[in-house]
């Protein structure tokens, strides 16, 4: 993986463009935090308090302050450049809310998959859902500072990522890190062959 992209998204024309993207990933990986950090408007959340038996609290590897979980969606908006306005739809992470996906994913142009290096394999399922849908995606490793992050080559191998799929490291609580992650995804979405096919369609 080369240097992580930064700065503005390149777009050939002058129109302002709405780009809908999903923020996806397994339980408690920081999806809501990500949308919260990056949104320029007050984000929309659907957090509900977790009851002990409903939640897989044991899976949380040291995250102790998490008491709520997303049951429907997160929503936020962020102007990425004077041309691209990003509409972010975060999904619930827990498997039992997967039925919410169908409508949330409708019309999305891409998805950012959040992953935690302490439990990479938890992100595999969602990646195969995206691949089945043919939705372009990028992967962002959310750094929880608990485990050392392996080199990108190793991570790419673990996820079996094609070379063009962006992989970035970020901290979901950091504004510029989350912006960089989204820029890398949007650039990938705009460059993807599917996108070209649909442009000329």
């Amino acid at each position: 993986m080369g240097s992580e992209p930064s700065g503005e998204v390149y777009l050939p024309d002058t129109v302002r463009t709405a780009v809908k993207v999903l923020v996806v990933g397994p339980f408690a990986v920081g999806k809501s935090t990500f949308v919260n950090t990056l949104s320029e408007i007050e984000p929309l959340h659907t957090e509900e308090t977790m009851t002990r038996d409903g939640a897989v609290v044991d899976d949380l590897h040291g995250i102790t302050d998490k008491t709520t979980t997303t049951v429907a969606l997160d929503f936020g908006r962020r102007t990425l450049s004077d041309r691209v306005v990003l509409y972010m739809f975060g999904t619930p992470g827990q498997q039992r809310f997967l039925s919410m996906w169908e409508d949330l994913a409708h019309g999305a142009l891409g998805a950012l998959v959040l992953a935690d290096v302490a439990r990479l394999e938890d992100s595999f399922d969602v990646i195969s859902v995206l691949e089945d849908r043919g939705l372009p995606y990028g992967v962002a490793i959310n750094d929880f500072n608990t485990v050392e992050i392996p080199p990108h080559e190793e991570l790419r191998e673990a996820f079996d990522l094609l070379p063009e799929i962006p992989l970035v490291t970020c901290d979901a609580r950091d504004r510029s890190a989350t912006a960089r992650a989204m820029v890398s995804l949007v650039e990938h979405v705009l460059a993807s062959p599917l996108q070209h096919a649909r442009e000329s369609a």
Binding site: Y87, H106, L135
Partner: protein
């Protein structure tokens, strides 16, 4: 370039008909959850948030069809969702192909005439939206 739903402020006049007494605001959204047009006392940012919320509500409502009716029959289509709060109501109504209208009212709204008006508006909207190229509706599913 393929993009998501584009706002169509020129459709707003059609929506203005819902602004009866005790109606706070209304938003028309596409199935992708993005705003087509909005009216009443609502900022642009809040219209975006309201639309995202309504899209999710529509999704959960449609998922509930499974639990409505006889399993031997074809699943019924979703037409509308009504939420009641201490201080008001939110109506979510289908408005033509892949579009919905959400309306927020106070508790004092006159339900009969209001719902009649809302349904007349979605009828008109449906005709108008049906003639447009579908935005934000590139079926991937």
């Amino acid at each position: 370039m393929s993009t998501n739903t584009v706002r169509r402020p020129e459709l707003r006049w059609m929506l203005d008909d819902v602004l009866l007494p005790e109606v706070r605001s209304a938003v028309v959204l596409a199935r992708d959850g993005l705003v087509i047009t909005a009216t009443g006392e609502i900022s642009e940012a809040d219209a975006d948030r309201f639309a995202a919320c309504l899209a999710s509500l529509r999704g959960s409502s449609a998922a509930a069809t499974e639990f409505c009716g006889d399993s031997s029959e074809a699943q019924p289509a979703w037409n509308q969702t009504l939420i009641e709060f201490d201080t008001g109501y939110i109506f979510l109504i289908a408005a033509g192909p892949h579009a919905y209208m959400g309306v927020s009212t106070t508790k004092r709204v006159d339900m009969g005439p209001a719902t009649q008006r809302f349904h007349a508006v979605v009828q008109k909207l449906g005709t108008e939206l049906g003639t447009l190229p579908r935005s934000g509706d590139s079926d991937r599913s």
